[in-house]
């Protein structure tokens, strides 16, 4: 219960903490989350995964802000991004932050994977976390590919055209995948709707679930011993 000692802030904090502790056993939950020690061998090479997560948070925030103004149709897409760039307060900054952080995020995923690979941190019992991580890598790259089309500039159009042709030359299922991606035979409104749905609904749900699993497994299994 709230103590008699301490200044008003400390007593208020204790009262709030007690409130949640009595109802949800919060002190135990918090101490399980943050009460552990970090092994002594952890050095700066271990920060890439965390930076990837930070980049994801920046992408979620700036992405939501961009979604307020962006229009996913062939007619409106380019002009709505132009509107963001020219009229919306801090629009240039938010869009540039989103684009730069996308690149940083992919770079950090790659560096994180290399760190885990060369420390052999994937070795049993952590194989499943490595597998989740590989799926997260491909999810992140797909984020990049789907987001690239959305501004509907020359780069967007031709990168998507070339990319979908490459997917289309996959053995056996190529043409089906290409038709599914484009929503037809060429880049049109259907393509933009699909890429937008993939970019702002499907992939965010997928990455959130995968990140949850990834972090739960790290907390349960701990950081791998050095080789």
């Amino acid at each position: 219960m709230a103590g008699e000692k301490g200044n008003i802030f400390k007593r208020a904090w204790t009262a709030v903490a007690d409130f949640f502790d009595e109802r949800f056993d919060m002190r135990r939950v918090v101490s399980e989350f943050a009460g552990h020690n970090v092994p002594a061998h952890v050095n700066w090479l271990y920060c890439f995964g965390g930076i990837t997560f930070l980049a994801f948070l920046i992408q979620a925030l700036t992405g939501i802000l961009l979604a307020f103004y962006y229009q996913p149709t062939i007619d409106q897409a380019y002009s709505s991004v132009l509107h963001i760039m020219e009229d919306v307060p801090f629009g240039v900054f938010i869009r540039s932050l989103h684009a730069w952080t996308a690149n940083i995020m992919i770079l950090m995923v790659i560096l994180h994977m290399l760190r885990v690979f060369f420390h052999a941190a994937y070795r049993p019992p952590r194989e499943l976390n490595w597998m989740t991580g590989v799926i997260l890598f491909f999810t992140t790259v797909t984020f990049g590919f789907s987001g690239y089309l959305l501004p509907m500039n020359q780069l967007s159009y031709w990168a998507t055209k070339v990319g979908s042709e490459i997917a289309g030359s996959m053995p056996f299922v190529g043409s089906e995948i290409q038709t599914f991606l484009l929503g037809g035979t060429k880049i049109a409104d259907a393509t933009l709707s699909r890429f937008y749905a993939i970019h702002v609904i499907i992939l965010p749900i997928a990455i959130s679930v995968l990140l949850g699993l990834h972090f739960l497994m790290v907390r349960k299994q701990g950081i791998a011993d050095p080789l």
Partner: protein, 141 residues
Amino acid sequence: MQMADQTQRNQDSHQEGGVPFFPDHFIKEMSVVALVLAIVSFLATLMPMPMGAPADPLKTPVGIKPEWYFLTVYQILKYVPRNIGIAFTFLIFPPFLMLFPLFYNSVITRFKYGRLILHTAGALGVITAIFFTMLAYLGFE
């Protein structure tokens, strides 16, 4: 059973040596957060994303390249038959990358230099990827 012991041992080792996650490690993490926020804000302010010309299906731009993380695949596809390159990139490489840790105990550590060979192969893969990315960046055909 052995695996459960290993997991338990890892959890125990966290409680013994090392530094407390909070506040010691957490302060370091927050300083990295501040640094990353500073770097991306710096980049976004000084090098804002250009708008580019609107998409025009009738006008193919010259010398366009995919984003840097696709350059390795893009460059390799210039040298190998497309369906073989695609099959490797989408159907062979991802499952291999995902599943190789399953064979760590049964195959990789069975040989004396198993892990050395695996890591050398990995390092060669990284060097190859950087090499092809540079070739693509410089526009080699």
